[in-house]
Symmetry: D3
Subunit: 151 residues, 6 copies
């Protein structure tokens, strides 16, 4: 039910082909997802988005699987099946098991319920969590130390 | 701007005090967040939610910091500042730095933009990602192998 | 932080004043909420919205308090504090107690968590709940009878 | 298109079977919804969620049908068809008619439109609705009395 | 998968038929969308909604195509395919091309990503954008002049 | 209540300063919004986002004011005040009046209510709007012609 039809390699101009070639090289597969083939209607957006994906999803201070989980949490929160399933495939390729996924979804559903609780109860931010207390300078929290913290 | 007023330890019944005591013991702090003090209006919900938080957020197959990031991704997706800031404090206590947080937010914003793209372009799920291909049995994807995958 | 400034009775044209008069008569108070005073920038929308509110919120097959709870559930789901607090005031005037509100919020947070679970697990609609089974004609469910039903 | 496959009674361990048995006993039906069968991948979450559903949806100070309507309002607000249809079936079993449902949906759509209006106009909370005025102590609103109240 | 079945002209009462007749006359087609046929379960809501659509979507200070784009942006933001596709058809009938649609979706996805960024970074409103500065009186911005402004 | 503190020009590295300089040149103002100053924690994201904003918001087949309205519609849909107010300022600088804004908000609130109606009534896509009928090739709709179209 695509609104704009996917553009195949054969029908693409050189700018689009260049991105397709890079996707194929990086991902070591000939397949290009519908996401990219549909974005190709706007070559500049295609390039920017591909660069953004490569930059944001690459392992850095957070590892690649953690990033996939964060991405999927956003997909689930918006009820977006495509975002979830494409990155679930990526996460599985990076080692995500069903048991890990079950833990992930337990956190996501907890957070979603808590968001509703917080909204519905109009809960005020605790004094010790007010901005001043959150900067790295003032927090001076020793990693691992179990301090007064979440919800 | 709490809708139901937080219930202090002194004013709480024994069921609520038992949960407060446990929170204090586990978190090694006398402070109890407004979230819990407001939930205390419904002692059964308080107990269930505390058990759910302890269970879901504890390190398991996913480590505790990854779980905090997943939780925060849901908070950000719903624009819920309290959920974000309480768990950001917890994440910082577990070692999250500003640089890691910047990477986190880069993924969240990428995913949120992609959700809109997917919705707006009505992108169909690629044939190779259709359910049959996603079960662990059929996927047979070798972790680490870079296969045709995300977005 | 109003974007369009509220229009006071003194500054309003006859169309707007007519609605204000009706609001005051129906609600037996001189006060007009900022919601209406801001809508007054578009007199046609003001009239339509007032008629829609009067029609939709009036007791009918559902009583007025139930309707307030439904309204508030939407407000909480969207994290909209104004929608929640204005109708919470209305609900309290109709008999809502803190204990009832705690039950309400327990349902809202349950549903919100379940929505995330359903999205995250990609749960398929059960065969016995597929559309054909949902029309009143085919359901033939005896009210009160406890059948296989929810989540 | 389930992501984790539903676990049938025959394939379930004793903890999961115990919950399934209870669901069957309470609901007086052999059928177990996909929701529960999928949750069964995480037996602790299954138990907690089943307890939460039983607790939250049971008639209390709010009757069971009102609770179903509140639940459905959240489902609709998130565009979650499964949450809506499962609880619609439950609500119909509890006496909800098409005419009542039409009234319900009129309130939901009104609230959703108003949420957008409030967001778009940046409407400030009216002074007489500010927190101090909302506690039961200060409100002193006589139930049934028609005071200055909603939107 | 309609929950309430669409009501055809032949089965409709006079109030509903009057709206159907008007829709047909205004839109110069015999076809009535499922949206209207389903709303017909509540004739008052049908009338109000039809009046609201005619009023809001008619060309005024904003032209009709711009209004369709605004409507679609809301549909995409909520992931509502029906809202998007019905108004996309209307927009195409008013001259929207694929190239224009690609520009539209580029803005929508940018905004959605920025919303997540703003939520995740807790960005404070800049002093020069605080309410006082936004009223038309104080802004005194000359249209076209490129001032310090967005994001 | 910024989570990461804004980075001032004086404290920024050369990559960040280059973007700040460009923002100042394009917008003809020394002021840099908090949005950009906070993004500066991730210079690559800052560059990409600035390029995306410049590309997406520039007049093209859609004019700049229409793009601002689309952007704001997303902001309102997500209840994001910062996104709304920054682009409202930009829109006012481009000629948006209060009366135009009132028309805009009337469309946004209509669409938001309709989204809830569509979700709640489970309205099926009309046969004449099914994908095949939406491609530019098959639609062959003459711009301006008033065909069977929206909602």
């Amino acid at each position: 039910m695509n609104i704009l039809s996917p553009i195949e390699y054969e029908d693409a101009g050189p700018e689009v082909r260049a991105v397709y070639d890079e996707i194929r090289a990086v991902r070591k597969t000939a397949a290009i997802n519908n996401f990219w083939k549909t974005l190709a209607h706007d070559p500049v957006l295609l390039q920017l988005k591909w660069k953004a994906v490569r930059t944001a999803m690459a392992p850095g201070r957070l590892d690649a699987l953690t990033k996939e989980l964060v991405y999927m949490a956003v997909g689930v929160s918006h009820g977006n099946d495509y975002a979830l399933r494409t990155h679930l495939a990526a996460a599985r390729a990076k080692g995500l098991t069903d048991a890990m996924y079950a833990e992930f979804i337990a956190v996501v559903q907890l957070a979603a319920g808590n968001v509703a609780l917080i909204n519905g109860l109009g809960i005020e931010l605790d004094a010790h969590l007010k901005p001043g207390a959150l900067t790295n300078d003032t927090a001076a929290s020793t990693p691992g130390e179990n301090t007064h913290e979440h919800t």
